[in-house]
C-alpha cells in the first residue's frame, strides 16, 4: 500500500504540487446494543479507502475514493489537484506549512485482548445480564446497554518522505436505565452517559469497568430520581464529578483553543472562539490552580495515537498554565501563526475526510484535595453528577449543562438527591471561580467518542483527564 500511495505522490510531485499526502485507512467496527432484553443493534462494519490532500500554489484540494486500485488512487490524486487549482481565488494568502521531520515509523495502541477476537456471544451475554439487572423494577421503562469496538489500520505517506503505519484499537461501552412515572422521566448511567466510557485499549478495558457491580445502584438511583426534589434555582458552590468535568473541559476549553476556530475557519458550522490570538499570555482564563494540557501520549487514553494525520508525532503541550492562557491546539498550517511547529492535533475521521484540528486528550491537571476533605470544606453546595445536557454559544462563552443527578452538600456531607439539575455560566468567570481540584487518586481520563466538527461533519474520538472539582457561586437550576 505504501508503494501505491508513493506512486500517486510521485505523480503529484511531477505536476509541481507544493505538498501532498495520502492516507490509506482500513477501519473495522463492531457495534452492539441490547434494549429491554432485545438485541436491537449488532453489526460489523468495514470502511476502506484512500484520501489524497494536495497543496498547489498555496491552495488546498482533497479527494477520497473507496478503492485501493492504482487507477482509482491516481484518479483521486488528479481530482485533488484539479480541486486545489479551483480553490485559487484571489485574496487568500497561500498556505505555508510548518517544518516537519518526515517520520518513517509505526505505532500500535496498547491492547491485551483484541475485542474482535472475543466471542460475540460473550459480549451479548454481558449486555443481556445488565439488562436483566436494570429491569428488575417495573418502574424502569427502558434499559439500554451497549458496546462499541473499532480497529483501524492507517498508512500515511507524504511528498516530504513520511511513511507511517498505525494500528489502533478502541473499545467502549456503558449502560443506562430510564425510569418513567407519568410525565416524569429520569435516567441514570454507568460509567458515563452517552454510551459510556472509551479508550484506545482492548477488551480488558471493558472487563475493568466491572459493569455488573453497578447495575443495582444505577437502577435504584433512576427510580429515586422520580420522587426527588427539583434542583433549586439558586447561586451555589458546586462540586462537579470527573466525567461531567470532562465535558466541561471539552466544550469550554477544548473547542475554543482549536487554532482553526480561533482563525475563523470553522465559523460556517461550529463558530469561532473568544480566546483570541492577541490575548495569548494575557488572558486569565482560570484561577491559579487551573492548568490544562493537551497530551496525546497517555497510553490507552481515547485521544492517544502515535502520529496525527499530518505525520506529526503525538505530544504533550500546555494550553492553560496556572490560569493563564498560553497555547492552542495547532496544525502545520496554523502553527506558524504562533511562530511554532505543529503540536500534532490534525485528525480525520476516515480516509474520506481531511484532517482538522481535533482535541487529543485535553486534561485538567489534578490538584491536592481528597474528595472527603473537599466535601467537608463545602458548607453548603451541590454535587453535580454525569452529563445529560450540553449547550454553549458559538464563541464558547455562555454555557449551560444539565446533569443526570445532583446531591445537596450540607454541613460538609452529601445529603438529599435533586432531579433536573442545570448549571450555567460564562467560561472565564466560571474557571476563575475554581478553588479546589481533587488529587491524582480521583483523576482519570474519560473518553468522549462523539465530538462533531467540520463540513462534511466528522466525528472524533477524544478524551479528557479530570477529577472532581469545585467552583464557587455558580448559577444553578434554570429549567423552569
Amino acid at each position: 500500500m505504501k508503494d501505491k500511495l508513493g506512486n500517486a505522490l510521485d505523480w503529484l510531485k511531477s505536476k509541481g504540487v507544493d505538498y501532498a499526502d495520502a492516507r490509506f485507512v482500513h477501519a473495522e467496527s463492531e457495534s452492539m446494543r441490547v434494549t429491554d432484553g432485545v438485541v436491537d443493534t449488532l453489526s460489523r462494519n468495514l470502511n476502506v479507502g484512500v484520501g489524497i490532500r494536495v497543496l498547489h500554489k498555496g491552495f488546498w484540494g482533497f479527494a477520497g475514493v473507496a478503492s485501493t486500485r492504482d487507477a482509482d488512487i491516481k484518479k483521486a490524486a488528479n481530482k485533488a489537484l484539479q480541486t486545489a487549482k479551483s480553490s485559487a481565488l484571489p485574496g487568500k494568502p497561500p498556505a505555508h506549512l510548518a517544518e516537519q521531520e518526515p517520520f518513517m515509523d509505526q505505532y500500535k495502541s496498547p491492547c491485551q485482548k483484541d475485542p474482535f477476537e472475543i466471542d460475540t456471544r460473550e459480549k451479548v451475554a454481558l449486555l443481556m445480564d445488565i439488562n436483566k439487572g436494570l429491569k428488575k423494577d417495573a418502574r424502569i421503562k427502558t434499559a439500554e446497554a451497549s458496546l462499541d469496538f473499532f480497529k483501524t489500520n492507517k498508512i500515511f505517506c507524504s511528498t516530504e518522505g513520511a511513511r507511517i503505519e498505525q494500528d489502533i484499537i478502541e473499545s467502549g461501552g456503558g449502560y443506562s436505565a430510564t425510569a418513567v412515572s407519568g410525565a416524569e422521566v429520569q435516567k441514570r448511567s454507568y460509567p458515563n452517559s452517552h454510551r459510556g466510557d472509551f479508550a484506545t485499549r482492548g477488551y480488558e478495558f471493558i472487563e475493568e469497568m466491572n459493569f455488573l457491580d453497578h447495575v443495582d445502584s444505577v437502577r435504584e438511583e433512576a427510580i429515586q430520581l422520580l420522587s426527588a426534589e427539583d434542583c433549586p434555582d439558586t447561586e451555589a458552590d458546586i462540586i462537579i464529578c470527573a466525567p461531567q468535568m470532562a465535558l466541561q473541559i471539552h466544550e469550554s476549553c477544548g473547542h475554543p483553543t482549536e487554532l482553526d476556530r480561533v482563525l475563523g475557519t470553522e465559523i460556517s458550522l461550529a463558530g469561532g472562539s473568544f480566546m483570541k490570538l492577541e490575548n495569548v499570555g494575557k488572558l486569565k482564563y482560570g484561577s491559579d490552580i487551573v492548568s490544562i494540557f493537551g497530551d496525546a501520549t497517555i497510553p490507552g487514553a481515547l485521544g492517544s495515537f502515535g502520529f496525527d494525520d499530518e505525520g506529526v508525532k503525538a505530544q504533550r503541550f500546555p494550553i492553560i498554565k496556572n490560569g493563564l492562557h498560553v497555547g492552542y491546539q495547532t496544525s502545520r498550517e496554523t502553527a506558524p501563526m504562533m511562530d511554532q511547529r505543529s503540536n500534532g492535533t490534525m485528525r480525520a475521521d476516515g480516509w474520506n475526510r481531511i484532517p482538522l484540528i481535533r482535541m487529543t486528550n485535553i486534561n485538567l491537571e489534578p490538584g491536592e484535595w481528597e474528595l472527603n476533605d473537599l466535601l467537608a470544606d463545602t458548607e453548603g453546595g451541590i454535587f453535580m453528577d454525569m452529563n445529560k445536557v450540553w449547550s454553549i454559544d458559538d464563541q464558547r462563552l455562555n454555557f449551560q449543562f444539565g446533569v443526570e443527578c445532583a446531591w445537596e452538600i450540607k454541613g460538609g456531607k452529601m445529603g438529599r438527591m435533586f432531579k433536573n439539575p442545570l448549571y450555567t455560566g460564562m467560561t472565564p468567570q466560571f474557571w476563575n471561580s475554581c478553588d479546589a481540584i481533587c488529587n491524582k487518586k480521583y483523576w482519570r481520563v474519560w473518553g468522549v467518542p462523539n465530538c462533531g466538527k467540520g463540513e462534511p461533519m466528522q466525528t472524533a474520538r477524544v478524551a479528557h483527564g479530570a477529577s472532581p472539582t469545585r467552583f464557587r457561586k455558580v448559577k444553578v437550576g434554570v429549567s423552569k
Binding site: 476502506v48 484539479q82 475563523g264 463540513e455 434554570v478
Partner: protein, 450 residues
C-alpha cells in the same frame, strides 16, 4: 453512479449465495463535493466518492447486520458471511415481522443532471459571487457550498427492488463585520435554484442590521422566529418526540398526548417525503413506501412515524420511516418535516410587535432537559434584533433560551405564508420546511458578550 441494473444484478448474486431465510441489501453511494470558505477565501475543498452497503440477514427471528463500502462481489460475500455469523449469535427479536414485499412507490424526480455535473470550479464561481457581493459592503464571509449526486437501492429476497437517484445542492453564507454576523441559506436538488447573490445579500443585510449590537437582559419576550430558527427548534423536537422509539419508551411529549391539544391551533406539523417542493425521497431503507404522517394537526397531537419493527410491536403498519439496518435500534424517525405555513407575511408579523426579539437562527440546541415537556436550550446566532413599534430597532447581543416548546408554541400569534427549506442532520434524503413564526412568549434565560 453504478446504476440500477448493475446494482441489482450484483445483489442478486449475493442474495443467491445467502443461506439466510431472508436477505436485504441496501446501497447508498455517490459523489459529493464541498467547498468551504472563511475570511472570504476558499480554505477547504473536498470531494468524496463513496458507497455504503448494508446487508441484513434473517434466520428465524434472529437478525445479523454487516456493512461494507466495497461494491465488489467478493467483499459483499464477506459482509454477508459476517452478517450470518452475527445472526447465529443473536437472540430472537420477537418484534421483527420479517422483510417487506414490493409495493407501489411514488414516481418522483429527485435527480438533476446540472447538479450532478457541477464541478469544483463551478462551485468556486458561485462562491466568488458571494465574495463580491459581501466585499461591496465591506463584509467578509464564511460558509460552505456542497453539491452531490447519489443513488439509493433497496433489494431484498422478498422481491423489493427500489431505486432512486438523487442530487442536492446547499449554500450557506455567514456575512461578518467586526461585531456582527448574518446568515443566508439555500437548499435544492437543482443547483439552478441556488442563487449566490440573493443568499449573500440576505446574509449581508442581516449582518448590517446587527452591527454594534447592544446588550438586552434575559427575560420573557415576544419573538419573531425566522425559518432557520423554527427549523432548528423542530429538528430537536422531532428528535426527542416524533419517532417511534421515544414514543414507545414514554419519553416523548406525544406519548400521553395523542388526541390532546399540545400547541396553538395554528400549528400543524407533518412528514411528507414525497412532496417534491422539499428534498423528496419515495421509500425508506427497508423498501417501504413513504407515507404522509400528520404529527401535530391544528395544535393536537396526532401520531408518530414507524418502521416495520416498531410498527409490529405497537400493532401498527410501517409509515415508511425505517432507517438503515445498523441504525434500526433507533426506531423510526421523520426525515422530511413540514411545519405548515400560515396566512401572514413576515412584514405583517414584524409590524404587529410592539416590543420583541427577531431571531435569525439558533446554535447548539439541546433537548434532553425535560423531554415530556419538550424543554430545549440553545443560543441565538447570526442576527438577533430588538423589535420596537413594529420595526427592527437595532441588533442585540446573543441570548440563551431555555423553554418548553409545548408552552411557547401554544402562544402563536402568526405564521408566515412563505416557507424556506433548511438543511438538517439527514443530509440529502430530507430537510426541514419551515415558515417564520411569531410567538407571544419565549423565555430567554442568559446572555453573552457578543
Amino acid at each position: 453512479m453504478i446504476g440500477k441494473d448493475k446494482l441489482f444484478t450484483l445483489f442478486e448474486k449475493v442474495a443467491n449465495s445467502s443461506k439466510a431465510d431472508q436477505t436485504e441489501i441496501v446501497y447508498i453511494g455517490g459523489q459529493s463535493g464541498l467547498t468551504r470558505f472563511a475570511n472570504s477565501t476558499i480554505h477547504q475543498n473536498v470531494n468524496e466518492d463513496n458507497n455504503r452497503i448494508y446487508i441484513r440477514v434473517v434466520k428465524g427471528k434472529k437478525i445479523g447486520v454487516a456493512t461494507t463500502n466495497s461494491p465488489v462481489l467478493n467483499d459483499l460475500k464477506t459482509a454477508l458471511k459476517n452478517a450470518m455469523m452475527i445472526a447465529k449469535f443473536q437472540k430472537d427479536n420477537e418484534h421483527f415481522p420479517g422483510l417487506p414485499g414490493p409495493e407501489n412507490y411514488a414516481q418522483i424526480n429527485t435527480y438533476f443532471d446540472s447538479t450532478a455535473k457541477f464541478a469544483p470550479k463551478d462551485r468556486a464561481k458561485f462562491i466568488k459571487k458571494v465574495f463580491i457581493r459581501a466585499n461591496r459592503r465591506k463584509f467578509t464571509t464564511a460558509g460552505s457550498f456542497s453539491t452531490g449526486d447519489g443513488e439509493i437501492a433497496v433489494f431484498n429476497s422478498a422481491g423489493v427492488r427500489c431505486y432512486q437517484q438523487l442530487t442536492s445542492a446547499n449554500l450557506q453564507v455567514i456575512a461578518m463585520s467586526e461585531n456582527s454576523s448574518g446568515y443566508g441559506v439555500a437548499l435544492s436538488r437543482k443547483v439552478e435554484d441556488i442563487d449566490p447573490v440573493v443568499t449573500a445579500d440576505l446574509a449581508v443585510e442581516k449582518a448590517f442590521l446587527a452591527k454594534n449590537p447592544k446588550p438586552l437582559g434575559a427575560g420573557e419576550y415576544e419573538v419573531l422566529l425566522e425559518p432557520a430558527a423554527v427549523a432548528a427548534l423542530f429538528e430537536w423536537v422531532n428528535y426527542i418526540g416524533f419517532g417511534s422509539k421515544a414514543f414507545m419508551e414514554k419519553t416523548s411529549f406525544l406519548s400521553e398526548n395523542i388526541g390532546r391539544k399540545i400547541m396553538d391551533d395554528g400549528v400543524t406539523i407533518y412528514d411528507d417525503a414525497v412532496d417534491t417542493s422539499a428534498m423528496a425521497m419515495p421509500f425508506d431503507f427497508e423498501g417501504v413506501p413513504k407515507k404522509k404522517v400528520m404529527i401535530v394537526e391544528n395544535g393536537v397531537g396526532k401520531g408518530v412515524v414507524y418502521d416495520r419493527t416498531s410498527a409490529h410491536r405497537e400493532g401498527k403498519v410501517s409509515t415508511g420511516h425505517g432507517l438503515t439496518a445498523d441504525e434500526q435500534g433507533q426506531g423510526a424517525i421523520p426525515l422530511n418535516i413540514f411545519v405548515a405555513p400560515g396566512t401572514k407575511t413576515r412584514e405583517n408579523m414584524l409590524a404587529s410587535i410592539q416590543k420583541g426579539i427577531l431571531v435569525t437562527r439558533f446554535h447548539y440546541i439541546n433537548g434532553y432537559i425535560d423531554t415530556p415537556r419538550a424543554v430545549l436550550t440553545g443560543m441565538t446566532r447570526d442576527g438577533t434584533y430588538l423589535i420596537e413599534n413594529g420595526k427592527i430597532k437595532h441588533g442585540i447581543k446573543n441570548l440563551r433560551f431555555t423553554d418548553s416548546m409545548l408552552r411557547c408554541f401554544s402562544t402563536v400569534k402568526g405564521i408566515s405564508q412563505d416557507v424556506n427549506l433548511i438543511p438538517s442532520w439527514w443530509d440529502s434524503v430530507g430537510c426541514m420546511s419551515a415558515p417564520a413564526v411569531h410567538l407571544g412568549s419565549f423565555k430567554f434565560t442568559g446572555t453573552t458578550d457578543f
